[in-house]
Symmetry: none
Subunit: 143 residues, 2 copies
């Protein structure tokens, strides 16, 4: 299970450290693709296959579904973590996520998300997550 929040920075070549605590779960080779809300998604190979299966099952006849599938598949790149724990983020993905230097990496259960620090801070300061809303959801889930 992928959890936690980490902050690292891109080097001049666009490489990023994979936090040591996530390395084992994500695997040496993993898939990175455009994500929702302006971040990038990272999936272990297993999780990616599961995700692909879901995409495959969507009806080709539905325009929304076609868009959804194109979005994720066209953006997908396989990454390899090097001996020093780094991997290269393709430039189109860096651009998509507005990444320049500082990157926030979060574990979200079945996937990793990569955020430009700016976007992450903005996301968290928005009323996305009012305490009341969280509390309501917690009650619903019986915590």
């Amino acid at each position: 299970m992928l959890i936690g929040e980490y902050e690292h920075s891109l080097d001049v070549k666009g490489r990023l450290i994979m936090p040591a605590k996530l390395r084992e779960s994500i695997g040496e080779n993993f898939i990175i693709t455009k994500g929702l809300d302006g971040c990038l998604f990272g999936f272990s190979k297993i999780e990616w296959e599961r995700f692909e299966e879901k995409l495959k099952s969507l009806p080709l006849t539905n325009k929304n579904a076609r868009d959804f599938v194109r979005f994720f598949l066209s953006g997908a790149v396989e990454c390899e973590i090097d001996k020093q724990g780094r991997f290269l983020i393709a430039s189109n993905l860096r651009e998509y996520a507005s990444m320049e230097k500082e990157v926030v990496i979060i574990g979200v259960g079945t996937r990793i998300e990569f955020w430009s620090k700016d976007k992450w801070l903005k996301y968290n300061s928005d009323e996305n997550m009012s305490a009341n809303e969280i509390a309501e959801n917690m009650t619903m889930l019986g915590i």
Copy 2:
């Protein structure tokens, strides 16, 4: 059952003593996450796994669900209590809860809460919590 109020202080590296009386119930490894009202939550592994199962079942396509899952999973860290009864609180969590030195630790049944002393005092002095008000609410809940 986790009960009681304790006060301890962070060392220079951000480690905190787990009160001896709570150690057995919370376990040697436990999960700490962002909580409500500016505190941190601590869950035993059992409690946490129950919660994780629920989070996993939420749909990726729903923005509310994504926000909720992100909040708890990105804010979660597994902690290990060392031989001296201490554990490290990740720096992003210390920051979230405005912890500098003095920390108040309270048992709240199924979880532990960690408060910066300042916030705890403020929380208790606010009209949040007059004994009368609590009593009224108890009546409402049929206690």
